[in-house]
């Protein structure tokens, strides 16, 4: 019993630390990748004893800067909620990771460890339940600042989040129909097979439209370019204008954590999670007859590595989109969400259900 | 935990909801108290469902949550309409039918 609790605790600490590290590195990637894309040099000034490490120390200097800046609270603001709102945002973004499987079952010393913090029966729903709570941080932050512009920004942001949550929810129903389960770990297991020996049975192969819709709506949900109207740091007054120092940092960090969450969910639902093609429990079995035997621990670690590799790929892809596309207008945003994405995702559900019914 | 614990807790929550409906004047608070009562009843249903090993009670809770969601959508729209008509959400101000 005590050992079980310890194992769950260690898993939770592992995933939270990993995600926070991803978030911290993303603050640097955001600047460095844009610099590379725009043929600049980018963040490279921070140094320790002349050591620059391609600008990685900027993460550290940013953290020091944010923690030491003045924490400003508007005089007429609701002090308690003003403090609470960014914490809620960050908290709900982090909690979702408890349901995401980052590896298969690991057997250590006769103990089976499911590499997923909380093995829930309906973990997809759990993730959506918690994601839908993220709107509180935004709307409360906007309201508590006692500033009409930030309040309007909060309403705008929450309208956007709620609209696109609908599309996200409907977009994955097609995949759920195929997987026949709401358990993320089971979904990943389902994606372990191969068609014709070389096409992996991943969600992206079975549900290409669902994948696309999920990714687009997900990017809108993370409130990043091209859907960054709630924030638009330099041009649009958003819900966080009255925030400074680490409280603002928490909002900013939530965005990066949500990027990681979107990447992790897309990986789990559509890119086979921790599955590696041709890798079975006892090693690689290639269709041309070659087989490489591997011990259990190596296989488990390879799968965890594969999961995080896919996440990193999707993060890179999101950054690519973020620095490529221009921002949409608010009416365009709502039109994309309700007139194009939602009907398309509904059509996706109908077609998937009909096909499943036909092929039994 | 025995079923009594859950049932007594549900009873306390239900009573808080009833008292809220009786003492508050703000239509929104009254509405939220009603939601609290619905939640308390859901807890008793889940308790019985758990201790009788019968999933029917949980299906009933599912429907009750659906109805609550629909009720809130219409109810809040009504409150907003009333606010636009009378400029208040105080239940004592809605006295057009009195003379």
């Amino acid at each position: 019993m005590a050992l079980d609790i310890l194992i769950v605790f260690l898993k939770a600490v592992f995933i939270v630390l990993t995600v926070l590290t991803f978030g911290a590195i993303l603050t640097w990637v955001e600047r460095k990748q844009s610099a590379v894309m725009q043929d600049r040099i980018g963040a490279n000034r921070a140094q320790i004893l002349g050591l620059r490490m391609i600008g990685l120390f900027h993460i550290l200097s940013d953290a020091i800067k944010m923690f030491t800046k003045e924490e400003f609270t508007p005089e007429r603001a609701d002090k308690f909620i003003h403090m609470l709102a960014p914490m809620l945002s960050l908290f709900f973004a982090l909690v979702t990771f408890t349901a995401i499987p980052f590896g298969n079952v690991l057997r250590l010393g006769g103990k089976e460890i499911n590499l997923q913090v909380a093995g829930l029966n309906a973990s997809v729903l759990f993730v959506f339940a918690i994601v839908s709570l993220g709107v509180y941080g935004v709307v409360l932050g906007g309201w508590a600042s006692e500033n009409n512009y930030s309040f309007l920004g909060g309403l705008r942001a929450s309208a956007q989040m709620i609209s696109y949550e609908v599309t996200i929810g409907v977009a994955i129903i097609g995949a759920l129909l195929i997987y026949n389960t709401l358990d993320l770990q089971e979904m990943v297991r389902y994606q372990g097979h191969m068609y014709l020996g070389w096409i992996p049975r991943w969600g992206i192969v079975l549900q290409p439209l669902g994948f696309l819709l999920f990714l687009v709506a997900g990017i809108a949900e993370t409130k990043r370019v091209p859907f960054d109207l709630p924030e638009g740091e330099s041009e649009i007054v958003g819900y966080w204008v009255e925030y400074s120092s680490m409280r603002w940092g928490m909002y900013m960090f939530t965005d990066f954590i949500e990027m990681v969450l979107l990447a992790a969910m897309t990986t789990t639902l559509f890119l086979g999670g921790w599955q590696i093609p041709w890798l079975a429990a006892d090693g690689f079995h290639f269709p041309w007859g070659m087989a490489i035997g591997l011990p259990h621990v190596v296989v488990a670690l390879l799968q965890v590595g594969a999961f995080f590799l896919k996440v990193v790929f999707l993060l890179w892809f999101q950054m690519l989109i973020r620095w490529t596309l221009p921002r949409v207008r608010y009416d365009q945003l709502m039109r994309i969400g309700w007139r194009y994405l939602l009907p398309l995702s509904l059509a996706n559900v109908v077609v998937t259900a009909a096909v499943l019914l036909l092929i039994g | 935990m025995s079923p009594q614990h859950y049932l007594v807790l549900a009873g306390i929550l239900f009573t808080i909801g009833v008292t809220g409906v009786l003492i508050r004047k703000n239509a929104l608070i009254v509405f939220m108290s009603i939601e609290l009562m619905l939640n308390a009843v859901n807890l008793t249903l889940v308790t019985f469902s758990h201790f009788m090993r019968s999933p029917d009670g949980q299906v009933l809770v599912f429907f009750s949550i659906v109805v609550a969601a629909a009720e809130v959508a219409v109810g809040l729209a009504l409150i907003v309409a009333l606010f636009r008509l009378s400029g208040s959400t105080n239940l004592d101000d809605f006295n057009l039918l009195k003379w």
Partner: protein, 169 residues
């Protein structure tokens, strides 16, 4: 461990409920109701009703209370704070009635387990609350109420839009 968790969440739920009806600021009332709903979701999970626990958070905390918060923030918050909170005869009577009701429901709750019927199915406690079990019932035994519920939701959408869009004199 279970007893400890039960008392923690029960205390949170009751504290949330009391704050809901006693706090002057409706935003805090709404937030405390969210706390209560979360505690109830945790209690559902302790009663092996995993699916309902998630639905409770998804629908109540994630959708219903967001709506409440929107409406409170948009129309109400300044007004309520100016209202004098008088202790009237109505309040006294309401509290007295509340206490009587409390005694009654606690009495019923304590004897309620005697009304507990026999164990109805051969399902284990874990299986009762699983998605598969509930979905199976929803699409067979309760398929008519299920369809009626969808129509109800449609009616609610139409009604909500009608009230929101209507031009008032």
């Amino acid at each position: 461990m279970t007893a400890f968790l039960f008392y923690v969440f029960a205390a949170l739920a009751v504290a949330g409920g009391l704050t809901l009806i006693l706090h002057r600021n409706p935003v805090y009332s709404a937030l405390s109701l969210i706390v209560t709903m979360f505690s109830l979701a945790a209690l559902f999970a302790m009663l092996d009703a995993q699916f309902l626990a998630i639905i409770q958070v998804l629908v109540y905390a994630g959708a219903v209370m967001v709506l409440f918060l929107f409406v409170i923030m948009l129309i109400n918050v300044r007004l309520e704070q100016r209202l004098p909170q008088r202790f009237t005869a109505q309040t006294a009577v309401a509290v007295a009635l509340g206490i009587i009701l409390l005694v009654e429901v606690i009495q019923i709750g304590l004897t309620g387990s005697k009304m507990l019927g026999p164990v109805a199915t051969e399902l284990s406690a874990k299986e009762v609350g699983r998605v598969q079990t509930l979905a199976g019932l929803l699409f067979t035994k309760y398929v008519l109420p299920f369809e009626v519920a969808t129509i109800l939701l449609l009616v609610a959408i139409v009604g909500g839009i009608y009230f929101a869009k209507r031009k008032l004199r």
